[in-house]
Symmetry: C2
Subunit: 198 residues, 2 copies
């Protein structure tokens, strides 16, 4: 609209998730009109982050070092391993404050139709990691989607020969969930997996 | 969370309008995990835009040149001037395709409590522009807010001595508006400004 570089900025902002043409325009105007310093800072942060952040060589989460904070930490329980699909899941679980073990990021889930088999998400490497004998329990925290479930089941099969306990995060009604609004599949799971109280 | 640079990127993304901590985190993860090339492109676009885009020396809209496309164009009616608060308004009116004249961007509205008087939004310069005699009608398209209205009224007063027709964009029920959901102030304006049909 105003100039080529303005249009290029609007276009570039559209790569952000859930930013459509209108929002991108509003963001571009906001940056140019009201916060140029912030825009320059954002450009710098983007360049720095893309240059220095890479996968942890042990767990495949994100880090700037050879090994991430969590893998390097001696305060975390090295016998407990939580397997997740992506670094976003590591973040979510860390923010819940409910886990003090280590992680393993698959970087996806099994999806044969898309050509994603066990090798593509590094399952042989995970099995290797489990064979080293230090880990006694694996919590399978892949998503509660069809692919996440299939990946969890596959992992149980693939580690049958190892003396490692495999658990799956609980599925049921979310906290604060009103039964009236919970989908029937979740509800049937919740009834099936009911827990004894007395 | 993962590293300092990751946190800095999340922080930097929060300067974008309506991006809270959760969205910023999601954006940062998306960029780092799925679109590094896009992130580098966005950084480049931000640097380019902040370096080259500035105010048009005539209308104060945005341009990369001395004078913006619209001011430089010979196809636009130089007798008609639309006064708006910001370049975003120029964009909105251009996108409506309803105006073929030139623009004047005030860069704000009168707001005595915030110390923004006529000088701060360049009203003397606008009056000067109108005194040059080329312009026959000024369409006041400041926002339909209290400040926008006050600014429009002030402009009418400030240009009383000039032989220029001053008009205000119409206010009433928006297209597709159902009366039931239109606020009463708008409705009373719409009744007051009713238009004769026969």
């Amino acid at each position: 609209m105003f100039s080529d570089r303005f249009d290029q900025l609007v276009q570039a902002l559209r790569i952000l998730p859930s930013v459509g043409p209108k929002s991108a325009q509003r963001m571009a105007l906001h940056l140019i009109m009201k916060n140029r310093e912030g825009a320059v800072g954002l450009a710098h942060a983007l360049n720095e982050a893309t240059s220095y952040i890479h996968e942890c060589s042990i767990c495949h989460s994100l880090t700037e070092d050879e090994v991430c904070n969590i893998c390097a930490s001696h305060d975390r329980d090295a016998h407990l391993l939580c397997v997740v699909e992506s670094p976003a899941d590591v973040m979510a679980i860390e923010q819940s404050g409910s886990f003090r073990g280590k992680y393993h990021v698959l970087g996806g889930h099994l999806s044969p139709l898309d050509g994603i088999g066990p090798d593509e998400i590094g399952i042989p490497y995970l099995v290797q990691r489990l064979s080293d004998g230090n880990i006694t329990e694996v919590i399978l925290a892949t998503n509660a989607t069809v692919e996440g479930q299939a990946t969890a089941h596959y992992l149980v099969e693939a580690t049958k020969h190892l003396p490692v306990q495999m658990t799956r995060i609980a599925q049921g009604v979310p906290q604060g969930g009103e039964l009236e609004y919970v989908d029937s599949h979740t509800l049937s799971q919740a009834v099936h997996n009911r827990m004894r109280m007395k």
